[in-house]
């Protein structure tokens, strides 16, 4: 024991980073993570649906809120994109005449425009100094297409009900312009806070172009 007494332990400094979970065996898991394995699938799906619906509501009644930014998800943008792409297909007669066109390119076109456009607008916002994450921005842009989707539904109903004349075109044009304005206003309300002062116009221009291209796709789609 004498040799043990002469060893000087205080000189040895071992750097051990304190990390890891403090696991007390037998106790329940902490409440920080939602454990969705124990609940029925129905409840999980309903919770997600409620979150998506809540975001749609915030877009359609735009007011300053951070719901879209704090709890972002991409379900809404995906649903809207698929809906737009399906509705903007070519007509049946065109398909017959073309013979080898299965509507594929138009579906892919809307998809590409939508997602690449959202990515470009997001990159631009980030490069201009916005403090917003990539997916938050895509979430906002995607959800704010919903007024245009409503305008598309109205246009299709109008085309199905009446013959394509100048009056119908003017009405459709007005609805699409309304949807375009609504979308731009809603996305501006959500994204403007993350932009530095004086650069808002620079960030809004690609946003404006994005919704303009989608609006133009909707208005120029006359096949029923």
């Amino acid at each position: 024991m004498a040799d043990v007494g002469t060893v000087d332990f205080h000189d040895e400094v071992v750097d051990v980073p304190l990390e890891g979970d403090i696991d007390v065996p037998g106790a329940a898991k902490s409440d920080d993570e939602l454990s969705t394995l124990d609940e029925p699938v129905r409840i999980t799906i309903l919770r997600d649906l409620r979150a998506v619906g809540n975001k749609f509501w915030h877009v359609l009644i735009p007011k300053k809120s951070s719901v879209l930014l704090k709890e972002w998800d991409l379900w809404g943008p995906l649903v809207l994109c698929t809906f737009l792409a399906i509705m903007l297909q070519g007509s049946a007669e065109e398909v017959d005449e073309m013979k080898n066109n299965d509507g594929g390119p138009q579906f892919a076109e809307v998809f590409v425009i939508y997602w690449m456009g959202a990515a470009v607008v997001t990159l631009n916002i980030k490069l201009l100094g916005g403090n917003i994450s990539f997916f938050q921005s895509i979430c906002v842009l995607g959800y704010c297409v919903s007024p245009l989707a409503i305008a598309l539904v109205i246009c299709r109903i109008l085309l199905a009900v009446s013959v394509d004349s100048v009056a119908v075109f003017i009405v459709r044009f007005l609805f699409v312009i309304l949807g375009f304005g609504w979308s731009t206003f809603a996305s501006t309300a959500f994204l403007s806070e993350s932009q530095p002062v004086g650069r808002k116009l620079l960030a809004m221009y690609p946003l404006f172009m994005f919704y303009f291209v989608i609006s133009w796709l909707i208005i120029s789609h006359t096949h029923s």
Partner: protein, 374 residues
């Protein structure tokens, strides 16, 4: 240190749930534990402990080194902050630069400052893509593989980057001090002339001649080229160098504008012209697309009959238009027969691109053709 009471305390609580991260105490405990068993085992226990500690240290070192190198790699390749300084502009500056991209200033001895900015050029290229899409849709352009927007994206960005590389290389060879980003910026702002010409050309397209477009091409395109030329002239004095670089810029700029207009423009007017003149050629068969190059000069507008084994009209026009290549399978599946009352026996097989419904409609409405499929 040789505190036996401490040791007994540790031994009397075997089921303790207290995590003890203090290795020194654990060492002591182990040492005590092993020393109680026998003096010889103390040495072995010490060596094992050292090995264990070294092993842990080494693992830790590897982990830290790994995370650091991963973070470094991410910061180099995945970091868009590299581009952030080039997007640091005010709206007024962008406006002024856009306006001045069409104003050639007189070159003086001072170098014309070209800002290293990427926001303006990127926005101009995106606007050009949108306008191209509009033009393609108006002209009912069809792409076999891929999408319209994909080809528009590809064409515009490839031009911007490729032409900038070419000009930068020419400047480098001619010993002109021109940073790559400045070239990118200059060429990008020069594309604003393309935007204006494409917009006006599509919105106000005249039916039969391209004179309006040529005027715009020379006027607006020329102004942008002159502006870029003055920038180059202010950076070098040698005549030969100036000619080389300015020639490269002018060729790329103006030819690209021509390409954008003619590649995606509507071809309906030419078809209606051909039909109105009622010059239907004698029997011919559709042949491979390779022959279309030979037949390019022979249009139905001429009095001379067309050469055999050469496609006409739609085939020739389609040969002029890229990305609208006639595939043999498609052509073979749905040829259209082109016959007039005077030529009942001789059926003219014209391979018109079946997707072009406007032409199809016009040809059908004029009563000249009947599709074989009907």
């Amino acid at each position: 240190m040789a505190d036996k009471s401490w040791q007994t305390q540790a031994q009397s609580e075997p089921g303790s749930a207290v995590l003890d991260m203090d290795l020194e105490e654990m060492e002591m405990m182990d040492d005590h534990g092993s020393s109680t068993a026998g003096g010889g085992k103390g040495q072995g226990g010490l060596a094992d402990d050292m090995r264990q500690r070294m092993g842990e240290n080494v693992t830790q070192m590897f982990w830290q080194a790994g995370t650091q190198s991963a973070k470094r790699a991410w910061s180099v390749y995945g970091n868009i902050d590299v581009l952030r300084p080039y997007f640091d502009v005010e709206p007024r500056e962008v406006q002024m630069r856009l306006l001045f991209s069409l104003v050639p200033l007189k070159p003086n001895d001072q170098r014309l400052q070209v800002p290293k900015e990427l926001y303006g050029p990127t926005m101009v290229v995106l606007t050009l893509i949108a306008l191209l899409l509009y033009q393609m849709k108006t002209a009912d352009h069809r792409v076999e593989e891929g999408t319209l927007i994909g080809s528009a994206f590809g064409v515009c960005f490839m031009y911007w980057l490729g032409a900038s590389c070419t000009v930068w290389f020419a400047a480098y060879v001619c010993n002109i001090r021109f940073a790559a980003l400045q070239v990118l910026s200059m060429m990008g702002y020069g594309l604003s002339s393309h935007c204006i010409v494409i917009l006006l050309g599509t919105v106000l397209h005249t039916s039969h001649d391209h004179m309006f477009f040529y005027l715009l091409w020379a006027g607006v395109g020329g102004l942008a080229t002159l502006r870029m030329a003055t920038i180059v002239m202010s950076r070098t004095r040698g005549q030969k160098e100036r000619m080389i670089v300015i020639g490269t810029i002018a060729a790329l700029h103006l030819l690209f504008l021509l390409y954008l207009h003619f590649a995606y423009h509507t071809i309906v007017e030419e078809i209606s012209d051909a039909l109105n003149e009622k010059l239907v050629p004698v029997a011919m068969t559709y042949n491979q697309q390779t022959d279309s190059a030979a037949a390019l000069g022979q249009l139905p507008g001429n009095d001379a009959p067309l050469v055999h084994d050469a496609p006409i009209v739609g085939g020739v026009r389609d040969a002029l238009i890229p990305n609208v290549a006639l595939k043999d399978a498609a052509a073979a599946e749905s040829p259209l027969s082109f016959g007039k009352s005077a030529l009942n026996d001789t059926a003219l097989k014209v391979a018109v691109k079946p997707q072009n419904s406007i032409i199809l409609g016009k040809l059908k409405n004029s009563g000249v053709i009947h599709a074989l499929n009907e």
